[in-house]
Symmetry: D2
Subunit: 344 residues, 4 copies
Amino acid sequence: MHSFMNDYSEGAYPRILELLVKSNFQQNKGYGEDVHSERAREYIRRALKREDVDIHFIPGGTMTNLLVISALLRPHQCVISPDTGHINVHETGAIEATGHKVIATPSVEGKLTPGSIQAALDYHKGEHMVQPKIIYISNSTELGTIYSKAELTAIHDICRQNDLILFLDGARIGSALMAKTNDLSLEDVAGLVDVFYIGGTKNGALLGEALVICRDDLKKDFRYLIKQRGALMAKGFVLGIQFEALFQDGLFFQLADHANKMAEMVAGALKKYGYSFYVEPCTNQLFPILPNNIMDKLSDGFDFYVQESINQDETVIRLVTSWATTQESVDCLTELLSINKLDS
Amino acid sequence: MHSFMNDYSEGAYPRILELLVKSNFQQNKGYGEDVHSERAREYIRRALKREDVDIHFIPGGTMTNLLVISALLRPHQCVISPDTGHINVHETGAIEATGHKVIATPSVEGKLTPGSIQAALDYHKGEHMVQPKIIYISNSTELGTIYSKAELTAIHDICRQNDLILFLDGARIGSALMAKTNDLSLEDVAGLVDVFYIGGTKNGALLGEALVICRDDLKKDFRYLIKQRGALMAKGFVLGIQFEALFQDGLFFQLADHANKMAEMVAGALKKYGYSFYVEPCTNQLFPILPNNIMDKLSDGFDFYVQESINQDETVIRLVTSWATTQESVDCLTELLSINKLDS
Amino acid sequence: MHSFMNDYSEGAYPRILELLVKSNFQQNKGYGEDVHSERAREYIRRALKREDVDIHFIPGGTMTNLLVISALLRPHQCVISPDTGHINVHETGAIEATGHKVIATPSVEGKLTPGSIQAALDYHKGEHMVQPKIIYISNSTELGTIYSKAELTAIHDICRQNDLILFLDGARIGSALMAKTNDLSLEDVAGLVDVFYIGGTKNGALLGEALVICRDDLKKDFRYLIKQRGALMAKGFVLGIQFEALFQDGLFFQLADHANKMAEMVAGALKKYGYSFYVEPCTNQLFPILPNNIMDKLSDGFDFYVQESINQDETVIRLVTSWATTQESVDCLTELLSINKLDS
Amino acid sequence: MHSFMNDYSEGAYPRILELLVKSNFQQNKGYGEDVHSERAREYIRRALKREDVDIHFIPGGTMTNLLVISALLRPHQCVISPDTGHINVHETGAIEATGHKVIATPSVEGKLTPGSIQAALDYHKGEHMVQPKIIYISNSTELGTIYSKAELTAIHDICRQNDLILFLDGARIGSALMAKTNDLSLEDVAGLVDVFYIGGTKNGALLGEALVICRDDLKKDFRYLIKQRGALMAKGFVLGIQFEALFQDGLFFQLADHANKMAEMVAGALKKYGYSFYVEPCTNQLFPILPNNIMDKLSDGFDFYVQESINQDETVIRLVTSWATTQESVDCLTELLSINKLDS
């Protein structure tokens, strides 16, 4: 059985485990004030070409989302999210549990547009309605799509014009930035958004997200807020060590690149054999549309997520590759596809 | 420099890391539904001699505390805690952030007594006051003391009589249960409390607490609540693997025993050379009272936490041992103490 | 200037004020435990033909909504509301501020349907999503429409089948029950829903909503929850006296009937002179579609709310009548309409 | 039976009811934007000699407390309150329900002191503890005592030095300012605190508190927050009219003066006949210490609150006077006391 179920099935990239083992008996300060976390911050700042950002390591993505959003909103304020956004559909109301409404806004291939943001702003006027304050986007999105520099700049501009905070969920930012069609650098992202995070969990770490706060006025007392939400780990160095390994010499990008390359091969095979996609693939998540009989054959040897039934005969499935996806798994999949070409 | 600062300075006990490395490339189900987590649950149930408990693995202690308390209270209900309780003083209002008051109740050496609980119950009457519903205690406590079986039974009884939920914070339950003066078994604990957790972070794991729900009526929908608080880890197997290693063959207890033995040697030396204690030591946390000049000498070679000034000349410090404390560190400390005997 | 802006422009129906004046110097118990509140409860129970309901008087509608919903949900549960529901759009995130998501569900003329409820239930499965537990509806709705007995029964049935709580916002229940096309009695409502309230503010009282809890298992500790939300008034008798006056001899229904009759006359004139409606009118809220030039003429002599632009030339406005609307105001409006017939 | 139970047993001072009746059929704007509310704001600003304050009318005291505190704190911040403070003991955890810890601080006769505030500030350091941000005090206090100008100034100073917000609960500010020993004016209060409210409910209104925000940086978006907590009344003019009546020509102070004078007579009689007090009386709340047999005799003809048992033989009771207390009631009480002199 080969798993294309998700990008968090295996442990960690070996070099990360090696650094954990190597530094295992060092005595570290608690709560993220250790030398590994400090070094990881330096490496990330170097990658961002920004000395002035605050960086905190948080165990997981949902926790980072709820932490950031509740930290930066007053009680009557809310967050605008794509209707497909993770905070809107797959976090069990984590944001609302901190007191804030998520305004689900129509999206195009998982992405917010200036038009949809503006419509939400225009609709929410006056004290009988919540006040939009944060724009939440993901890159790559829940559908594996990415924001171009022009698109992100347009959203940045609308945020500036309306005194909004732009928050980017980067649980899969590695894959986004290594996409062939991507024209954004990590530095660009840090310049265009106000807060974002760099996902470790889905890119080779055991766990961990690096939260980057780019705007000075948003930094204050963040460690209090991390602690309050239960996200300040006693052994914070466990997160620090992993990001140290990921950012010392570009491992983070290499792992994402590997995942993308594996996905590209799978996507290429799917196209070659006649299959179409729910959205055009570019990162490590693929959403091919398969006839149900093909899907059934696939499920004999491969794990994947069944996304959505398109009609009586066809289904969208999700195939995800990762740093751990092997050429062998991809070859097996490709072979199965070659035997099951679509008539067309 | 030898650190007696806390029990979370080092990584993990080597056998835990080895199991992480060994199982690194297995493909696991996400969110704690993997085989390692399942196996760890079996091992823990075996140690508890209870098949009917629900077990969830949570990244950290504060998160477990806020999760459990907010899961089990209605909005107008509150939790009674020792005034020294971790939730009352050292979690940045994490419980209140979920909407509930913590009633800080006088404690004796970090422990709640039936009398103090009854007084709190008697005081909170009628709809203009919060309604007590959970009793929160720690074992071992913030002062390193432990509950005897008789003491825990008395609190259990008062909870049954008043329809209260008894929740035990076991961040350091390993050290408590391995204390020489302890007469509680893990099985006893599970029989006397309604919910508790078994702390991994402070007993040899990289991170993780095993939450045990003993009462059927408290189990419902807990995975929803874990997810909502951001505590359902994508790579839940990282926690599962660690508890698998800890509970397969009693490693958990061996590590706690080591910590206690190291503490006992330190305590013995302190007593031998004339020092007294803020509370009589029995677990891995020691609170000796030192003349300030001795404390200063100690701080040249050892890291520790300065707890509280007793008077102009004396200070209570906290020395903590762990699974990772070496005989060498203890010997160095003992030697320094032998040179600095108290005149008496 | 005649106001058709809303049904809360004037003070109270004179008989209510008279009873307030008459009982002004009586010494009452505080917090709603007075004889007036008790008597009002008896009168309402009589009107409901139900002895077993709990009744609490709450100052306002938003407060009642947030109180009820937060009282009855566990943290991971949510409320299903019509997309047009007051809690979804016009309460500044009051429900979310108590920690719960509002699932906005497609509605037909302001009403939920079993189909839309079922679709929401089908979509929300598993612990990564919120768990629906309360169905929130209004009668009359935000669009002035009403539920038939068959419609309410169908929603009741789906709630029973899925262990859901049915909560009816009755801020305008008086007008709903007195509608010509209505086939529901107050008794029917109490039998079909689990919790609802009888709106005083919009039907002749200075302020106040009578919350009725029909299901035994939902009653517990409600006064604690009322107090906690700041809704337990020291002078609770001020609310009690008003509902005493409203329900002693049917005044509540007479006032609603008057409002409806005034609305009916206005609706009749609008139809007679060629105007159509956004939804067919039946209660005290009318939503005619007016050419913009007619709307402008109307605004010279009348206050009303501009609901929504339909196209370049036409706008939906809202006209609301109340217990205080005079025949004279209606006649003036009718006359203006007769001069401005639509060509057709 | 004469009631000295509290100051909210009767309806409203007649002139207030008269203004409600007189303006009953005027058509007002909703939600506090009506002419009466505007006029009441002008009158209050005149009384404060401050044009620059924002004034909002809120239905009740608990609601005002929870609204203000949750509006002005970030999630990790907390409020320091006297241990006897209303928010700490008599609001069913209303503040915690909005997410914030109340730090109960030792008080002297119901009052916070700079020393107790400083101790609380000193104790709460670092991100593992909540961060104090609001100081909450009441004037008069729960024990009927008042702050002198010097005392309030000292607290003001400590707030300025530590960037804290000073919030004064003025549910009984009328009685406080009319106390013989008082040296504070309403203007002084507005100059020394950042936010406070002027209690109507306990000083002759049917309901209502006038919230005064003195500091510009605290005013933003307050109407959103009022709405979100359910405190923005549709018929806001009902509150406005009452404060219009109270502040047009000093009625507010006359009513408080009457209450105090009645209390003074009762206190005088108690002293004359040998009784002592739990705290020296100066406002409309008296806390005499009575032998239990005298207390029993008193309870035959008078309603009052039994505060606390002092010892086997003596009890502290609370006697409260109000705008509605009659000379006749006072005379009856005085007479009963004269018959039951204390032997001494």
